[in-house]
Amino acid sequence: MVWIVLLSFVSAFFPPWLCRVLHSRTGWIVALLPAAITAYFARFIEEISSGGTVVESMGWVPCLGIELSFHLDGLSLLFALLISGIGTLVVIYSGSYLAGHYQLGRFYSTLLIFMASMLGTVLADNVITLFVFWELTSFSSYLLIGFNSDQKPAREAALQALLVTGAGGLALLAGFLLLGQAAGTLEISALLAKGDAVRSHPFYVPILLLILAGAMTKSAQFPFHFWLPNAMQAPTPVSTYLHSATMVKAGVYLLARLSPVLAGTAIWENVVTPVGMITMLTGAFLSLLQTDLKLVLAYSTVSALGGMTMMLGVGSQPAAEAAVMFLVAHALYKGALFLVVGILDHETGTRQSGRLGGLFRAMPATGLAGILAGFSMAGFMPSFNFIAKEQTYAAILETTPAVFLTAAFFVAGTCYVVVGGITGFQPFTGRPRERFLKPPHEAPPSMWVCPLIMAAAGVLVGVFPSPAGKYMLSSAVGAVLQAPSEVQPALWHGPDVKLFLSTAAMLAGICLYLARAKFRRSMEPLTPLLSKGPEHLYSLSLAWLDTIACAQTRVLQSGRLNLYLLITIVTTTGLVGASMLEHEPILGLERWSDLHIYEAILAVVLLTSTVVIVRSRSRLAAVAALGVVGYAVALLFLLFSAPDLAMTQFCIETLSVVLLVMVLYRLPRYRDYSSGKERFRDAVVATLAGGLITALVLVATAVTREARLTPFFTEHSLLLAKGRNIVNVILVDFRGLDTLGEITVLAVAALGVYSLLKLNTGKKSGD
């Protein structure tokens, strides 16, 4: 399992080369990989459905408890099969959809990276591993949404999706780390047994909210839903695969996966269920206002994700069954509808619902796929979606009070009938609406076969539901509930409330479909209100971020050296000073009594010369005073047992002064650049910094010091290095390599000096 995922990542390198050789046939070759993965996972169906699990692990960062550990159970298997199976179809479809596109190779590479990351996300057993794959899916989604990178809306939508899901990802990481602390393990399989410990932990609420933030941004839940419709800028195969069938379900997957650990509390029910319900209703309502077929589908996907979240919020056994069934049904019919809309767009050049009609004669195969998928979406008998819908009603009717959720799902169900009609039915029936530039014709088989397979599967599973229930759904529901469960989906349960509700919703939906144009017109006054939604807040906060960043850069990166220094000095002085005051330092000022008179005179001379350097209006006087300071420092070295330092300092100070005087007369006289106020400000800051250093020296010298290296040097200087001057021995022997570095620095400085003096920059210069 680990190798399959890693191999998929590696295989992402090859499509660009394949494209150069095989051109339009690349799709069929690339599709072999997801097809092989599908076959690989299909082998596990038998074992998993009989209650087994498969575990594989590889060390990654063992010291932090991070393993590349994978865990295959019913839920992961269901997702893995959806990912690889739909992936195969999408890859084949893309070959024709993007035929001749100059970056087809890059497209396939990114798609394979996405597939590998998505597989990793659903298979990972370690939450950190899961997080890494999770972020990789966000990243590949960014690349795929912005695939047409020469278009501004595509780039903006890609960035928006990345920012929203990336921010959620950060919250998720924080939640995972807290969860790991609370439960003492990062492995999901071990976490599942510690649900009670986590739920009673003081971190439970932050853990839950952070993980929910991650899951809900990924699964486009209200109020983060706006990125998903915008992501429709991506090529249609991408919308099918990432933004309908798989990636956006990662959030649902995570909620389902962690529900044994996190669910069952009041806060879970009071957050997850309402958010799911609001998302379901918002998405369903907004989908009816769209005229672009892709947007219709995008909003209805938001709505469906809301529905799944809502069912996971309810959390009962029938609700978990409904969520899993709806997930499969939705992947099949919505994927098919997206692909059908892609074909319509590809062959006629438009996705506007008002301009498409009567195309069945021209494109019978696509039309069949569209009608079957639309039929599924509407939830008509005998599609699998009908069974999922019945199950949802069954689960909702058990809740108390049942009326809110039932009403909400009834409304959403009505809207789904309309969406199914608009996208799957209307383009192919009725009279042709208008003449297209080229007469519409059937797409190549590699395109229509993919939606047809998915749409047909959506109906076939409905007609023969028991194998799906036995082999796939039971173990998936069992994994969600962490209890062995038996799912027996059936088309006919006898005349009961569920059947009545779902029939009534269908009839209402058909009525609304017939009156859809009128409905859309009556909702037009709402348009200005809708533009003030969460997306408006998103753009406002981005604008704020820009403003703050600009203001901060203007202040901090002004290009003025003196301001940089001022900020650095103030910050350092403030922080160090505050921390020092906090610890009530012992200054030991009584130690001044050991002072000798000549030392005091030297100190006074030194400080007076410093004042001269600062205050003098004459440059020569300043340089001379600098020489005095240097000599005084040398004398201090001499007085306190450092003759080598004194000698070096004497030589070097002399050289420095000579150099300065030589340069001095090439520079203009002093002029006042700064105002008195600025000088006062700088003087205060500099005095404070100097005072801090004084205090630091006092504090540091007040304690007795234990020298640990010095005894070694004094002991071995003569014995090992044959030298009596210990300082010399340290420099040329014990720390000889440092001295080599020092010489190198000097040589580089000398080269710099030479080239600055001699280099001719082209401008006529004095020398």
């Binding site: 450092a642 330092l645 070097i652 650049y673 700064s674 580089v748 000398a750």
Partner: protein, 117 residues
């Protein structure tokens, strides 16, 4: 003496930093020179001050017998003095070149990488 030395170091730091915050490029270099003196004295004082006992092994002995000044900070400072000189020499020549090329000794005039018109 450490008390007096701490005030000397503080004074050197204060005046060095003040000069570095000036806009005149020559003052900047003078400030750097003062700051390097201050840093050297700081390290020196951290090794504690010892009067009249340089770290030398007397002739005829194998190791030092009495307490001597700490040789390690001295070795570090020796390196620092030399490198400080290298940096300073480079800075001095650089400001000369700057003035020749740009025609100003005001640091605020040097904010742009483009040559002044």
């Amino acid at each position: 003496m450490e008390v007096v030395m701490s005030f000397v170091i503080g004074g050197l730091y204060a005046s060095g930093l003040y000069l570095m915050m000036r806009r005149n490029i020559l003052k900047l270099v003078l400030g750097i020179a003062l700051l390097s003196h201050a840093a050297n004295l700081l390290i020196f004082t951290m090794g504690r001050l010892t009067r009249g006992h340089p770290p030398l092994i007397p002739p005829g002995e194998v190791r030092v017998l009495e307490s001597i000044a700490d040789p390690l900070p001295e070795a570090l400072i020796l390196t620092a003095i030399v490198i400080g000189f290298g940096v300073q020499a480079f800075a001095i020549v650089l400001i000369r070149r700057c003035f020749e090329t740009l025609g100003t000794d005001d640091l605020d005039e040097m904010r742009s990488t483009d040559r002044a018109p």
